[in-house]
């Protein structure tokens, strides 16, 4: 892999991890609210 390949992969993975974490929090909040009586 070229230097640019490592850079793109690193930045994309970071974006996916942060986006995924944000969505997981939102999803867990929604799920928690749905289970409220």
């Amino acid at each position: 892999m070229t230097d640019a390949g490592f850079v793109i992969a690193g930045w994309v993975i970071t974006g996916v991890v942060l986006l995924g974490y944000w969505l997981s929090i939102l999803w867990r909040i929604r799920r928690g609210e749905r289970s409220e009586p």
Binding site: V7, T14, I29, E33
Partner: protein, 258 residues
């Protein structure tokens, strides 16, 4: 779109949280532009240097997140300031710290392969950072161990303060030991930053973007902590009610036949 009631039980109002979210988004967009297109490639490392604009901010945010966890834990343990708010902040911040530490390790490894020629080295900075990652994974696991809220909060606060001892060890590892990892570029003993121009700009935008994102996510994660606590309490009460009902029906419990 209206937000449910529990979304309001955060550290800040939903409006302020949204402002932080929007600012974080703009700062992240600026980071992409400056870090990938404006800053020049490094004279020695070439384009691989561009990974530093997210690797270093991720590492600093891990320090910040674990620092907030440690301070919040201390405030929980101190009788005068004891409040479950601090326990929730500690838990929320620790989870964010684990995410940022994980990114730090991953990005460092992806930078190490083209620059050092290896994905991993048994280097003091790398090993102490990996230890930090696993210490706080253990802390998050401890928060999942079923217990009364006050018992859990106290044991987790103590664990968080013990785990934080590793943070200065990580930071000073490059000066205490001879390491493959480079010494501090910005927060070195002379406080003489060895990065300038658009490269420094990209780094500082990265720090700003990740800090704004941290504040936004901390508030969101705190709200989740409140919801999960409520659910745990309801489940505990339901379990106690079941046990009491079952006990009432059981001849042994009510003393029939003794």
């Amino acid at each position: 779109m209206s937000e449910p009631v529990s979304m309001g039980e955060g550290l800040m109002s939903p409006v302020v949280r949204r402002v932080f979210g929007v600012l974080a988004l703009f700062a992240l967009a600026a980071l992409v532009v400056v870090g990938l297109f404006v800053a020049p490639p490094d004279e020695v490392q070439g384009d691989a240097q561009r990974l530093m604009y997210i690797h270093v901010p991720a590492a600093w945010l891990a320090y910040l997140a674990f620092g907030v966890t440690a301070v919040s834990s201390a405030l929980y343990l101190w009788p005068r300031t004891r409040s479950f708010v601090w326990d929730r902040v500690a838990g929320a911040s620790a989870e964010l710290g684990v995410i940022f530490t994980g990114l730090t390790l991953l990005l460092g490894s992806m930078w190490g392969r083209p620059v050092w020629g290896v994905w991993w080295a048994w280097d003091a900075r790398l090993v102490t950072t990996a230890v930090l990652f696993f210490l706080y994974l253990g802390y998050l696991a401890l928060r999942r161990v079923p217990a009364a809220l006050d018992v859990r909060a106290k044991r987790c606060a103590i664990a968080a303060m013990i785990a934080f001892v590793d943070v200065p060890i990580v930071h000073f590892s490059v000066t205490w030991w001879r390491t493959l990892h480079q010494k501090a570029t910005v927060f070195n003993p002379d406080l003489n930053a060895e990065i300038h121009g658009t490269m420094a700009l990209a780094l500082w935008i990265g720090v700003l973007a990740f800090t704004l994102l941290y504040v936004y996510l901390l508030d969101l994660r705190y709200r989740l902590e409140v919801i999960e606590e409520d659910r745990e309490e309801r489940e505990l009460e339901a379990a106690i009610a079941d046990r009491v009902q079952g006990g009432m029906a059981s001849p042994e419990t009510v003393g029939v036949g003794s």
